[in-house]
């Protein structure tokens, strides 16, 4: 018996290898006593920058890696870059985050890197096995990060809720995968696509049931209505930088992986799943936009608005075209920037206002804190899709793709959804610019005990972990918001380069993956 060593393309795998190395370095560095939190965060950022550099270096490549488990192509690279952008933003927002103190900075950043590793695997996977591994590697560190602020019971509650709903989604997805595997006899997307064509399986019960369960499982992860109930709760309870990360990175990567599974693996059945996805998109747009109206918690509001935005993005998948995939990836990129521009000021206000994430926390900051008010305003305007911001171009592309793909009615729904969304987005803007700043509430409550820790540890830790408030201390947070807002405006005026990248990425998805 001979053992054939598989050919391993180390250049193609280099982004993943760089992340693994960063993970090891960060964990080791964090246990060295004199290494402070800034050094740990800096190491993490250097790791992300290296990974991004290696991903850009591999731009334009189009080949399968590791015995057809992963595929490196432009749409995967684009998703990885969005995820890295979000992760780097999260690191900057987390420097003074109470959750990072409670969990320990090393553990906190290591979990973040682990989640990004899962995203890299998921964005490149062309095999049911690597898809499942990537999705779980992405999700499990996020469950922990959501519950990381163990002093707040909301955080624990959101972690547990996310774990239960996320695992429910994974189990459904797995069962769907099992059925698809049973019907087609392979876990490789390329072989599945070939089997579906050659063996006339398009009306096979096993395949259809499998596809339905897989779509439901992924809809849970993407918080598409009617599988969305967890999203507002988890967004509200999780530490705010982690909410930003979930809203941006998870969405981008899971959407790309979803597109890969559907178009490269199950493309033969597109007539069946595209109508189902159209229904999911409509329900998400309606429920997301209606649910967000009247929310007082900004994180909760963004949770609902994320459901609606997920519905818009899904339109790019429904039309099954190069154009649609390009519009999807373009929208994901600009949505990431807009979201970070909104979340950065929110993090800053949460620490200094004493209102938490309530709308009162941002009331009147237009006059007192213009460096926070402007990024937030620009981010919100981009989410609405106002001309001059990148969100406008993104929505334009999605609507154009929908009309070209004979889904004009869906484009109409997107426009109506946008109009309804003004109801809550403009409320944020009026709070920022038109309301007076309320007096800060008295929040000098004693620090709650550390859940899961010994009482002595609580006593010794009490007070020491107080985060110094004050505007001068959050330069990095303000900077993150300003940079993302500037990029949003810049891409709204000069979108050509990003359009070209998104088009290249869109073309990559329609290429057959090969066996």
């Amino acid at each position: 018996m001979t053992f054939n060593q598989p050919t391993i393309d180390y250049a193609g795998l280099s982004p993943l290898i760089a992340l693994v190395a960063t993970l090891c370095v960060v964990i080791i560095a964090s246990i060295i006593p004199r290494v402070g939190r800034f050094s740990v965060a800096l190491l993490t950022l250097i790791g992300f920058a290296t990974t991004a550099g290696l991903t850009i270096w591999q731009w334009g490549a189009s080949e399968n890696l590791v015995s057809n488990a992963l595929r490196i192509d432009d749409i995967g690279s684009m998703a990885i870059l969005i995820a890295l952008l979000a992760a780097a933003g999260t690191v900057l927002l987390s420097l003074r985050e109470p959750a990072a103190y409670t969990a320990g900075h090393g553990a906190y950043y290591a979990l973040l890197i682990g989640s990004v590793m899962g995203m890299v695997v998921l964005a490149q996977s062309i095999n049911l096995i690597s898809f499942f591994v990537g999705l779980e590697l992405l999700s499990i560190p996020l469950y922990v990060l959501c519950g990381a602020a163990v002093r707040r019971k909301e955080s624990l509650e959101s972690g547990l809720k996310y774990l239960i709903v996320g695992s429910l989604g994974s189990a459904t997805l797995l069962y769907g995968f099992a059925l698809i595997y049973g019907a087609t006899g392979s876990t490789n997307f390329g072989v599945i696509a070939e089997e579906l064509t050659s063996a006339q399986l398009a009306s096979d019960t096993l395949v259809l049931a499998g596809v339905a369960m897989a779509v439901v499982g992924i809809a849970f992860k993407l918080s598409l209505a009617p599988f969305h109930q967890w999203a507002p709760d988890v967004y509200e309870g999780a530490p705010t930088p982690i909410t930003a990360f979930m809203a941006v990175a998870t969405k981008a990567v899971v959407f790309v992986a979803f597109a890969r599974l559907l178009e490269q693996g199950l493309g033969e059945l597109s007539g069946i799943w595209s109508d189902a996805l159209a229904v999911l998109a409509v329900i998400s747009i309606v429920i997301g936009n209606v649910g967000a109206i009247g929310q007082r918690s900004i994180k909760r509001l963004l949770g609902y608005s994320g459901i609606a935005q997920g519905g818009y993005i899904l339109v790019g998948l429904v039309v099954v075209s190069t154009e649609g995939a390009g519009a999807m990836i373009f929208y994901l990129a600009v949505y990431a920037l807009a979201n970070l521009a909104v979340f950065a000021p929110l993090v800053a206000r949460e620490r200094e206002s004493g209102f938490g994430d309530d709308v009162n926390g941002i009331a009147g900051i237009g006059r007192t804190r213009p460096w926070l008010a402007w990024p937030m305003t620009i981010g919100v305007l981009s989410m609405i899709g106002l001309p001059g911001t990148a969100g406008f171009i993104g929505k334009l592309f999605l609507i154009q793709a929908a009309v070209d793909g004979d889904y004009t009615w869906l484009a109409v729904v997107v426009v109506i959804g946008t109009v309804v969304s003004l109801g809550y987005y403009l409320r944020l803007l009026s709070a920022i610019w038109m309301e007076p700043q309320p007096d800060a509430p008295n929040t000098q409550s004693p620090m709650p005990v550390i859940a899961g820790g010994a009482p002595e540890a609580d006593a010794s830790a009490g007070g020491r972990e107080e985060v110094p408030p004050g505007s001068s201390r959050c330069v990095l947070v303000v900077g993150t918001g300003v940079i993302c807002a500037a990029a949003t405006v810049l891409l709204g005026i000069y979108p050509e380069q990003l359009i070209q990248w998104a088009t290249e990425a869109g073309e990559a998805i329609t290429r057959a993956v090969g066996l």
Binding site: L128, I129, F132, V133, E136, I140, Y143, V144, G147, V150, K153, E154, L156, E157, S158, G159, L160, K161, L163, I164, S167, L168, S170, A171, T172, L174, Y175, F177, A178, L179, Y181, G182, G185, S186, T187, P232, D233, V234, E236, G237, Q295, S297, R300, P448, V449, A451, G452, G453
Partner: protein, 99 residues
């Protein structure tokens, strides 16, 4: 032996788990039911793997076992943390976040 028996069993296990997640109130029992759902998936994978005489399904089943263990570790950790904060261990009481 007819493999459809195994598939029916796995479908029943999956349904039992799903119903358990929906109706039970204790987070511990919910975790158990989630395990049941994942293992129902495993049984289906192994059945198909056997009938197709192909190894890929078994590889996925092995991966799922690892994933299930990770999920339980995180879940139990969160439950212990909630218990030490003296939060009620009943998912109906988890409603600080709602609306």
């Amino acid at each position: 032996m007819d493999l459809s028996y195994f598939l029916v069993l796995s479908a029943l296990l999956f349904a039992t788990g799903a119903i358990g997640v929906l109706v039970r109130r204790s987070p511990l029992v919910i975790l158990l039911c989630l395990e049941l759902m994942l293992n129902a998936g495993n049984l289906a994978l192994l059945t198909f793997s056997r009938s197709l005489a192909d190894q890929q399904g078994q590889v996925l089943a092995l991966v799922v076992m690892v994933v299930a263990a990770c999920e339980v570790v995180v879940g139990l950790g969160l439950i212990v943390a909630a218990y030490r904060r003296k939060l009620p261990l009943n998912v109906d009481e988890f409603r600080t976040l709602r609306g």
